[in-house]
Amino acid sequence: MGEEDLYRDIILDHFKNPRNKGAVADPDIKVTGANPFCGDEIEITLKIQNNRAETLGINAQGCAISQASTSMMSEALQGKQLNEIKDAIAFFRDQMLSQQTKDWPPQMEDLESLEGVKQYPVRVKCALLAWNTLAEGIKEFQAQGNQKVAARHVEGEQ
């Protein structure tokens, strides 16, 4: 994928019109993450029902890549089972961090546009922030026996 594909319309659309903006009331999972290097900051809140992410809220600030990735993630994972979400997170991380990429499943097709980020290795962590943050929130939630959690702050890393 060529460099010219990085700031594609779809990424800019998610950056300018972030989906699922705001915080859900009385969340079951609340988790925050940041990349101190870039100043990207996000807060993810989820309402869980029957092991399913019923509603998902995002508050984010930072670069276009981190914000677009966060917005796309929220759209792709809204309403999914927690196990499906965990699989999607693992899949996305793998797509961003490995040289080879697999075909994107239909529900994640917008996210394909983020493959261009791989041209700029230092920016990959911008794309991964939301996913790593959500992974931590779910992990904590399940570790606490599906009790409400305000998970620890996640610092950006790959």
């Binding site: 460099e3 990085l6 870039c38 100043g39 930072g62 670069c63 276009a64 700029y120």
Partner: protein, 420 residues
């Protein structure tokens, strides 16, 4: 200092022959990248690169040890750079006050350990500015944490783009043991009036004074004897030299009073199983085999700067800075940081494109083959004060051209269009 001054005076009226200068820098001469990240590191002239190759091909031997010719020659070449460096920063007493380190950061840390451990006590104070690079903040935080001492800051004034030096009179007390500040801000380019500030410090008390010269020494004449500071630190790689070489200059009596930094070979005169006797300064602070090749290759970097002259380089940087500031002021949707005029800065313009995160600007500029630094520039406290996550910083040196500034300015509307 006399020699440095005379060489700059000779060049007083000369203008840089920019094409000739560019041809001296192999990476620049290839014209593959518009390199505007000189505050991070500078490109190297052929003579520096050749000195490295030449050393390994013809002169490589360890120093201060061998009784054979090759080692003696390497020792002589290494020690001759100390003299050159001392002269370049205006240190008449010269070579014995120059300690080679890995970089300016290590030089600050050396002072924080070897001087700080001995002379800073609980309740003492160290004064810095809010404009300092992390390397002139963190070593002092570590020291004051160890010693239960205190760091205080001269506030940065976003209105003027300068530290509020007048605050010194209320900040300084009899417990103030050190004032450490940068000659030139790495993120904004603000030039601090070193001589003037040192005078006001001396009027208020007698703390030691450390100047961070990492961004100053490569661009502006340093006169440590005339300034009357106690320590100066800087890095070779920001002034055309190789990476891996930093310099600490300190008053000789202070170096002699300090404890060693690292222990090992070369820093001792005599070792028994129980104890050791330290070598004379500066070798007391250079434990183990130093970075011989890079120190030797630092020589031609200084020669190059002296040949062109810091005065001519300074004028060229001023022209680029003035032009860049003017063009940026005329570009809609730009926020500029730092001092209002080019004269108060040293080859740096720091800005943001409104509505665009600096990391996005940086990536999009990289797409145009323009290398700038984006982010917090190791100035997180300053960025916090400015209420931003970071800036886009273009920093110039002797080989940059007005056309390169034009390329930067031309790229901005393209970025704005993408984000419109």
């Amino acid at each position: 200092m006399k020699e440095t001054l005379s060489s700059t005076l000779e060049n007083k009226n000369s203008k840089l022959d920019i094409l000739k200068v560019r041809a001296d820098f192999p990476l620049i001469a290839k014209n593959k990248v518009i390199y505007l990240d000189n505050a991070a590191t500078t490109q190297k002239p052929k003579t520096v690169i050749q000195a490295l190759t030449n050393f390994y091909e013809n002169s490589n031997a360890n120093i201060h040890r061998g009784v054979y010719r090759l080692s003696e020659e390497a020792t002589e070449a290494y020690e001759s750079i100390r003299k050159k460096v001392a002269r370049f920063v205006g240190a008449q007493n010269g070579a014995s006050s120059i300690v080679f380190t890995r970089n300016a950061t290590e030089a600050v840390n050396l002072v924080a350990y070897a001087w700080g451990e001995k002379f800073i006590n609980a309740g003492d104070e160290i004064i810095l500015t809010e404009m300092e690079h992390h390397s002139n903040i963190v070593p002092w935080q570590l020291l004051t944490q160890r010693k239960k001492a205190k760091v205080k800051y001269v506030p940065y004034d976003p209105g003027t783009g300068k530290p509020q030096w007048e605050a010194l009179s209320s900040l300084m007390t009899e417990r103030t043991k050190l004032v450490a500040f940068t000659h030139v801000s790495n993120s904004l380019g603000t030039i601090n009036p070193v001589q003037e500030v040192i005078r006001s410090i001396r009027k208020l008390g007698s703390p030691k004074i450390l100047i961070d010269g990492a961004q100053g020494v490569p661009h502006l004449p340093a006169h440590v004897d005339d300034w009357g500071c106690d320590f100066l630190v800087f890095s070779a790689h920001k002034m055309l030299g190789p990476t891996g070489i930093g310099v600490l200059w300190a008053k000789k009596e202070i170096l002699e009073a300090m404890e060693p930094f690292l222990g090992g070979g070369d820093m001792i005169k005599e070792v028994s199983l129980e104890t050791a006797r330290w070598n004379d300064v500066p070798w007391k602070f250079e434990a183990g085999t130093p970075n011989v090749a890079d120190v030797i290759a630092f020589g031609p970097a200084i020669d190059y700067l002296e040949k062109i002259g810091l005065a001519a380089i300074g004028r060229h940087e001023q022209e680029l800075t003035r032009y860049a500031l003017g063009r940026l002021e005329q570009t809609p949707g730009i926020t500029l940081y730092g001092t209002k005029t080019a004269e108060e800065r040293c080859g740096v313009v720091s800005f943001n494109i409104q509505g665009v995160h600096p990391h996005d600007s940086g990536t999009l500029l990289a797409r145009e083959n323009i290398a700038v630094r984006v982010g917090h520039h190791c100035n997180m406290p300053l960025m916090k004060k400015l209420g931003i996550m970071g800036t886009t910083r273009a920093s110039f040196y002797l080989y940059n051209t007005l056309e390169e500034v034009d390329a930067l300015i031309r790229a901005i509307p393209k970025i704005q269009k993408i984000f419109s």
